[in-house]
Symmetry: D2
Subunit: 355 residues, 4 copies
Amino acid sequence: MIKAGIIGATGYAGGELVRILTGHKDVEIKWYGSRSYIDQKYAGVYQNMFRIVEDICKDDNLKELAEQVDVIFTATPQGFLASVLDEEILAKVKVVDLSADYRIKDVSIYEKWYGIEHKSPQFIKEAVYGLCEINREAVKGARLVANPGCYPTCSTLSVYPLLKEGLIDPSTIIIDAKSGTSGAGRGAKVANLYCEVNENIKAYGVANHRHTPEIEEQLSYAAGEPVLLNFTPHLVPMNRGILITAYASLKEVAQADGSFALPTKEQVRATYEKYYAKEKFVRVLEDGVCPETKWVEGSNFVDVNFKIDPRTKRIIMMGAMDNLVKGAAGQAVQNMNLMFGLPESEGLELVPMFP
Amino acid sequence: MIKAGIIGATGYAGGELVRILTGHKDVEIKWYGSRSYIDQKYAGVYQNMFRIVEDICKDDNLKELAEQVDVIFTATPQGFLASVLDEEILAKVKVVDLSADYRIKDVSIYEKWYGIEHKSPQFIKEAVYGLCEINREAVKGARLVANPGCYPTCSTLSVYPLLKEGLIDPSTIIIDAKSGTSGAGRGAKVANLYCEVNENIKAYGVANHRHTPEIEEQLSYAAGEPVLLNFTPHLVPMNRGILITAYASLKEVAQADGSFALPTKEQVRATYEKYYAKEKFVRVLEDGVCPETKWVEGSNFVDVNFKIDPRTKRIIMMGAMDNLVKGAAGQAVQNMNLMFGLPESEGLELVPMFP
Amino acid sequence: MIKAGIIGATGYAGGELVRILTGHKDVEIKWYGSRSYIDQKYAGVYQNMFRIVEDICKDDNLKELAEQVDVIFTATPQGFLASVLDEEILAKVKVVDLSADYRIKDVSIYEKWYGIEHKSPQFIKEAVYGLCEINREAVKGARLVANPGCYPTCSTLSVYPLLKEGLIDPSTIIIDAKSGTSGAGRGAKVANLYCEVNENIKAYGVANHRHTPEIEEQLSYAAGEPVLLNFTPHLVPMNRGILITAYASLKEVAQADGSFALPTKEQVRATYEKYYAKEKFVRVLEDGVCPETKWVEGSNFVDVNFKIDPRTKRIIMMGAMDNLVKGAAGQAVQNMNLMFGLPESEGLELVPMFP
Amino acid sequence: MIKAGIIGATGYAGGELVRILTGHKDVEIKWYGSRSYIDQKYAGVYQNMFRIVEDICKDDNLKELAEQVDVIFTATPQGFLASVLDEEILAKVKVVDLSADYRIKDVSIYEKWYGIEHKSPQFIKEAVYGLCEINREAVKGARLVANPGCYPTCSTLSVYPLLKEGLIDPSTIIIDAKSGTSGAGRGAKVANLYCEVNENIKAYGVANHRHTPEIEEQLSYAAGEPVLLNFTPHLVPMNRGILITAYASLKEVAQADGSFALPTKEQVRATYEKYYAKEKFVRVLEDGVCPETKWVEGSNFVDVNFKIDPRTKRIIMMGAMDNLVKGAAGQAVQNMNLMFGLPESEGLELVPMFP
């Protein structure tokens, strides 16, 4: 039985970790860390857990926690883990960090976009970016996994194969993203009140959202060259779900007869299948079916599909997932499974709930 | 492995049966019946099931189905099962009926409230009303289970103990109920369109909703006398969830010193605990906590609690559950588990999803 | 041109006052009071008012304000107005108070339910309870109007005629109310976050909501005797709207032939019409039509209707209105119109918006 | 008093026309056409209009209607007006067509994208595309106005000035649009049921939505060359509102010193102001404020703003409006005002409702 500790257990991502790990047959949660609710019953904060979780919330003492558990999940504000992590901790436990602290390899980019000093840059190189479908082997051997951001997970998985195989022009990528409100967290802010979000849609973080460099870094690896792109998130009146709609110009590719032409629908589909046919959690939808967030709610799936526009020679790539599952807690558990040699989908056989 | 067939697999309750049975380790769905989608892929109707269910929808031939499966779930319009059920079928398979056909023992009441003739009244007596917490032993031996209605499940479980133990006056019961829109089904009606339901609340079926006699019958058993009550459902702009708020006048009961007085909070709580302390799926919340539908979403729980108003000598009883789970598919599976001698909660260890 | 000042202009009720008064041809808003946003542009807080309102938010100095305007609206927390109002102010301006400070005639009841000391009880007797349809003449001559609470407005108007005319038993009244989330105000609280309210319904303030004694007082006037009742509010995932579902036992009344019998549907309807046939803002719906909050959204209407249950001899009374309009700002303007001798519906000819 | 007839008065756009015209002091609705509800009370279909509209729904006889009114609004399915319009009608009444029949000048494009034969192409040339801010003078003299589509209104107004002034590259335009569900109409379809739309977002009509050629035609006029673009609409779980997020590459423009450089924020803003500073219904928001649909709900405003991304040299243009008002009925009334020489904003001084 793997003993797990969660720091930030009363945020939405932390709560989802509890939901998923509660159903994971090889894991036992030993520590519900929540600075805001120390000494209060966890089920008093999240009544859905009444009679399921009997524990009390504890503080966020990583050193003590490292003595007691095998793996620590940190669902904490940016900068927290970087400020407390040290070699002593990493020598004792594996860490899956749901914050952005170790996602970006170039610390100057992190510090610029996040506006804070990174307190433990020495671990950045070691940290594995935990996008399992792409970095599976590296994750297996990692002590420290940087769990990807919600938008970057959905964006990268939707675009990666086409970029990697040279079907699209890296300089033309535009990602228009839409997220449910749980992505904004559980902080008590006027902007997140029911009446402010309901019956409303807006863009935010236009041209400066922090997930931009994270997506760019991952797509740069795929393209083999630096990628700059536009990423625009929108706040949607729903609890869960991220949909991304990505645009890029198609590149002419070599055809069977040696000529060059825009890739056909079949070629694009084959490219996606090359990467995802064996992936449990990425579903390439059938021709003509647009991903909908509702079809993946509560599950660890990412649904992807595409449409070619021959008029403009662009391709529209679409991806949908549950931001709290594949976009946070589910992917964190998927990483944990890999790190501990468990079946990758253990505890993640979550059937999407509809309606 | 129990082989199951579902008639009405593409309605919302049918879809939820598929979701739950897909995760049930002892059951295999062999028949996805859906008159509207015959020969179409089930996952084409419910894309959440893409790559999870590969089957094609079939018609609703009960005779053929009885040859192939061990249990049939009918999530069908009122009158359907009554018109096709016969001894030959019941001799071969167990049936869990999610419609109202066999819920009401007095056929004349059924025919009056539902406005249709009952075509097989000979099975009414045999049918067991599948409210597991109350009729557990009878369900275990049943061939035919009448799965309770959504409102009756939540209403009965919230009121039953106090009525049974004589703490409330049966002539004073008023049940004000609120339901999410999945309870209205998947039929294409203007009244159920997004724009008609969203940002709106209304009562419907006032003083004539069909679940009224079903609730009255069950509560009559508890009271040991005929019960007439008011039941008013309301349509709430949300997908899932039923909340009932029930009112009744408290009766004076014998106290320790031999005098008579209104029951105290502790006495009421003890009464609920007497019935539910060992029940897995009924959670009596802690003092002062009002049930919320969100805390049970996706799970088989019913959360109940109460508040005494000493000013009016009434008690307010509250219950919340997911109408598609404990109010339909979950309870149907709970009944199936009992009928087949499986652990009652098999496949139903569903952790509520929040948010 | 009447000069108006608003204290609490950036709350939801205050914002609605601005929306309505902006379209009122005889009123000019001279003071946007908002302690939280002093010196900030009002349209920066409420961008819907961009290019409509150019003013800056000011503090809540009533003395200074009394010099500059003809009428003050206070949409402020309980206790605020009571702590600053004095004869000097009332001698200069008319005041419409949207808080509860002067609604309840018995100061001990106010202090008990609100848990605060009343700082100016000397004005309670003078204050007129501004339920225009019932206290119209008194409002016309008032200096100080206590604008009714949202729940009390809808509850009282739905029940008043039947109680006044002796058709229902005052000891049997139960009011089950449902409100949109704007009623919870614009304070940044976790409980009012989008993800906590959405896809959820719950009761709150069970048996102790502060609007209970206000409703009881008004209905006591109708009954001619003290009324105690149960009032249970629920939070509904929508922005605006209140629906109340009220229950009471019918009393036998004298019939044309001298006998006594339960009132007929026609008699009940005639009773409602007696009070409301000439009322612009109370619409008694046609037989069989249940009020829906969406049908009154954005308007000053209250829609009422009823259903008799001959089985239980109870009547179900229903009322729907927009909590921010007839339940707050609209009624405040209606009161102002009466106080200044304007047509009662001036500025309130708001057509409900659907969908 | 202008006498108006509405064909299609019981759809959502038709209902909004009724709401707006009811408050228009110079217009009287004489004909509520609704083939589905002939001889039924209009207020029985839309209860919000109870006691406001007393009329009965009539059929869609344009010839008879032309005898009785001064202006006809057609909020009808594509192809209807084209199949019945003739010179005799146009000689008698002015027509504002809310369908797409006369929006596109090239009939072959209309027939290709809409998949129907155009039955009266002879009126296409005469018809004025009623985007008032751009074609104001032509509208004034028109007999037949083609009221723009919802997406084209918001898209065109957001992009037009920058394209017209040569600040952006016409070949790089991508429009990602999001719409509330009222845009899908009031037809009883499963896809528009509450439970299918709620808690969900999806793209639809990807690369083939019918509004694409309409937007392209209008932007081609601005660019002075043919424009092809990508337009992707999304369905958002809310009743009203359209938000468009448009992307384009900036072009270098001549600077004060004679050099060429990308336009600055100030230059872009000045360009928007050049076109919209005097426009009542287009609000160019302040620097840094992103348009939100909620801020324009119920009003005739379009809010626009932009953000330059110096990293990618693209500009993100944003626009928000109420799809039923400026995107349909409001703009139709604005056109009518122009056609009849009334003040352009008569009846349209609608203050946005928040929340």
